[in-house]
């Protein structure tokens, strides 16, 4: 797994961004960028090149699903790995995310191993 890539972490809770940053740093990722909702994330995606997006679903302004759809509709990011990390894991949520092109899905609460395993799969 290439840990030199630039990762964008999107969550409206600073707590979750902090936990994810800690896990990613433990894995070896150093190039981490944060956004607190989909709108801010999209602005970052327009201003710099991101190699992996890890996003929450339920956020104000622009949800993770709306962000995913924008990402997949763009030429630059249509193939960029997108990991949804969310408490929203009812069947309809998962179906919508898969149909929108999510790379993989982690349900909160999660262990560090769960994040690492999913990243191994989508960054092969």
């Amino acid at each position: 797994m290439d840990t030199s890539i630039k990762v964008l972490i999107v969550d409206d809770f600073a707590t979750m961004r902090r936990i994810l940053k800690n896990i990613l740093k433990q894995i070896g990722f150093k190039n981490l960028v944060e956004a607190d909702d989909g709108t801010s994330a999209w602005e970052i995606l327009q201003g710099q090149t991101i190699d992996l997006i890890i996003s929450d679903w339920n956020m104000p302004k622009m949800t993770g699903l709306e962000l995913l759809k924008k990402v997949r509709a763009s030429d630059q990011y249509k193939r960029t790995p997108f990991l949804m990390v969310t408490a929203e894991a009812q069947k309809q949520n998962v179906i919508e995310a898969v149909q929108a092109g999510v790379s993989n899905y982690v349900v909160k609460p999660f262990t560090a191993e769960a994040i690492s395993d999913k990243l191994e799969k989508i960054l092969k």
Partner: protein
């Protein structure tokens, strides 16, 4: 209140605290709560809509939430601040999410709002409906917390 609406929140609370904060949690006996005064220092509260409308809240004693968040962050937290409030919101969100998955398996589909957080000694908890408030006390090795589940009659 239907116990099938309560148990998923107890199960979710135990699992979220154990998974995210490595805290062993013991559930006490549920009781009917008569007032709006929080049993603790910081509360996360979240509205639910679906087969029934209601709210859930999670109230932590200061000692308990400082230990929980210290474990989540891997560093010692010493005071109730915006970082603790944010963590309580996210914990409430995760408890809601996991409980709603269990409820969905039983055919009860709910949607959740974004949680809000209230802090301070003897603060009030405003549930969105006037249904009975079922409180479930939990103990950890480092302080206690209480969840409340309130659905419309």
């Amino acid at each position: 209140m239907n116990v099938t609406l309560i148990n998923p929140f107890i199960n979710a609370t135990i699992n979220v605290l154990e998974t995210m904060a490595f805290v062993t949690v013991i559930a006490g006996k549920p009781y009917l709560k008569k007032d709006n005064v929080a049993v603790g220092d910081v509360t996360g509260i979240l509205g639910l809509t679906g087969v029934a409308n209601g709210t859930i809240s999670v109230t932590f004693e200061e000692k308990c939430i400082l230990n929980v968040v210290s474990n989540m962050f891997g560093e010692t937290m010493t005071e109730l601040n915006h970082e603790i409030a944010d963590a309580v919101g996210e914990l409430t969100n995760m408890i809601s999410g996991q409980a709603r998955r269990e409820l969905e398996e039983a055919g009860k589909v709910f949607k959740a709002a974004i949680p809000s957080v209230v802090t301070g000694r003897n603060h009030s908890i405003s549930h969105h409906t006037d249904g009975p408030k079922i409180a479930i006390p939990f103990s950890t090795g480092n302080g206690d917390f209480t969840i409340e589940v309130c659905f419309e009659r």
